[in-house]
Subunit: 373 residues, 2 copies
Amino acid sequence: MKAEECIISRREVAKLAGVSEATVSRVLNGVGPIREETKLKVLEAARQLNYVPNVLAQQLARRRSGNLGVILPYVPKVKLFSTYYFAEILSGIGETARRMGYDLLIIPLSPVEARSYTNLFQTQKVDACIMLGSQDSAEEREALRQLHEEGYPFCLVNQHFDDEPFKTIEADHVKGGQLAATHLIERGCRRIAFLNGPNVYSNSRDRMKGYSLALQEYGIELDEQLLYLGNYSRKSGYQYAGQLAEAIREGQVDGIVAANDRMAIGLLQGLREHGVKPGRDAALIGYDDAEGARFTEPQLSSVAVPFYEMGEQAAQWLLDSLHAPSFQPDAADSGEPAEHQGAKDAAQSVVRLPVRLVPRASSLRYPNWQGDS
Amino acid sequence: MKAEECIISRREVAKLAGVSEATVSRVLNGVGPIREETKLKVLEAARQLNYVPNVLAQQLARRRSGNLGVILPYVPKVKLFSTYYFAEILSGIGETARRMGYDLLIIPLSPVEARSYTNLFQTQKVDACIMLGSQDSAEEREALRQLHEEGYPFCLVNQHFDDEPFKTIEADHVKGGQLAATHLIERGCRRIAFLNGPNVYSNSRDRMKGYSLALQEYGIELDEQLLYLGNYSRKSGYQYAGQLAEAIREGQVDGIVAANDRMAIGLLQGLREHGVKPGRDAALIGYDDAEGARFTEPQLSSVAVPFYEMGEQAAQWLLDSLHAPSFQPDAADSGEPAEHQGAKDAAQSVVRLPVRLVPRASSLRYPNWQGDS
DNA sequence: TGCAACAATGTACGCGTGTACATTATGGGC
DNA sequence: GCCCATAATGTACACGCGTACATTGTTGCA
């Protein structure tokens, strides 16, 4: 009995209800005037047959997939979902998509094929797309530019491209870097090391900018010697521990800003192994306010970034723009005006959410450190 | 120029190549004998027009979506992606799906609609489905049973249902609970509290079983007073801190097994606030070996669970079974034989991956505790 | 009574693809 | 030169649904 239910379509419902297929479709979609009696007949027939519309056919007929694509970068050996950063953004996206009746289509980029994103849209698998963890490379920029020119709706999260009109939801990382550095300065640090991440991420560059601004504001000269480059992994923080421990002992460094909490935590653990205790011997502050920042000893000061909200807003904006009738891909015809429009959009295209300083014990510096026993 | 490219289909390619649409289809799918010359003509035309097949139409014609569904439970106020448990499993699923050419369709269950899963398959949105975080309730069991009866391919992860033939990938949590408790016993504990999670999860019950076995093995009587119930959140661990701190001081408790690391970490922090230091005043061990277990002070002993591999295996088995020609939903016709087959399957239907004890400082107990300064 | 307006429904086709079947070339053995 | 097996291609339709347009039924009003 159950076996046949797999293959019932609109036709069976129509037959049972004694109406045409079109009427069934109209009833189920609430389109056009329908006599109440007919409506009930159809609904009863559908219920009785346990009819469920074939979404694939609907998608083809409507030329909309109802899927929100999420592009995940390929990062070797990194379990992307497990990083605080992606997990939080994804949670925000997922919740919003669910609320708006969209499904999430996760598209992990494969390491080999450097295909352009346009294919993705041409296949119609997704109606819109959110780009996570994209890097500022020439190819990436070109691929996105093409996407934008063809009018496909997409949104970058936490990565902006200068001089491009791409819609972007990010956080104010210049401010964040400044907050972090200023915090250490106000706690008495003068020789502040900065452990940054790769420059292909705009947020790395922004934090660097903020760090510089803070130093400048307090008349502290930027010392290239104090700049370290990691890759946002805990290991890459850990590996600088020896070097920094020595610098701290020699008085060359009295404070450290790390560009994310993973590196900060790795560094913190390494420093302790070298007998240097952040919060006592030097001030340390991380970035992201990941959950782990509250687990360390001492607890890690950080800068909170509203990742969840960024995911929410990206999804919300994208799905709103799909429903808005304003979406006109015809702009490409008129050539130059499109250019101009792009420039106008640029003004509002980047949304920058505020970040927040979260001071904890790791950025204390003097013997008034409140440790236990 | 770019604008028109959005609407090219097989027809345009066929016209340009001077062949029929069927030939285009055959060339692109590598079906049937094709003259080399024709093949090149078609491929050249496709390239020239920048043709990309419409996946929606392919899905409809092939009656396969190419999507692997992942059901996420609705847990109020919890950002699912951000929990170690889900994140790791999802990473494993995602990586495997990518390798097998499938996309991941994330389906977060909404709080209200308690729809049956069969709808999901009937809509054809997914070819197979992985269930995460399902609970052992009567409705859930019934919904899954229906799914199984109708022959839809699905797989549970980290949750089994007794007496059901559902395919399941989980870990040996009985062993895990036993390992944890035995570890504490061997380190000298005799009054071991157990902070467990809700019983709707089979892994909670399994760990409890393992805990009991360990006590029994060492002739320690199980004391109901020492059983605590949390909900796997850090907060729910934290809230028992006062109670347990007192019990430890009074000598009522000398060791604690927590059913996951989140609760263990919350508890650890709470205990320290009450002046009780795990690893010195009492032994504490968590479960999952989440990343955060290495961040705490002292570092948290735990039981490592191969979540990533569980995700991999679930996806692998599911996608393999789709490609295998053995898949015959006709079994329902013959009635009882299906029952028998189910019983046979049951023997292999539950795959239980091994877990591993990870001893760290939190489960030490005596003054030989190796703290710093 | 006749006619217009509108409600309610049916018919027919498009969406873009896969593929069974029919048809036409091609070659080899006699 | 003929016939058959097979290669190569075209034709036609199905997949299941949305919807424009045609058709029929109903009502109100002159």
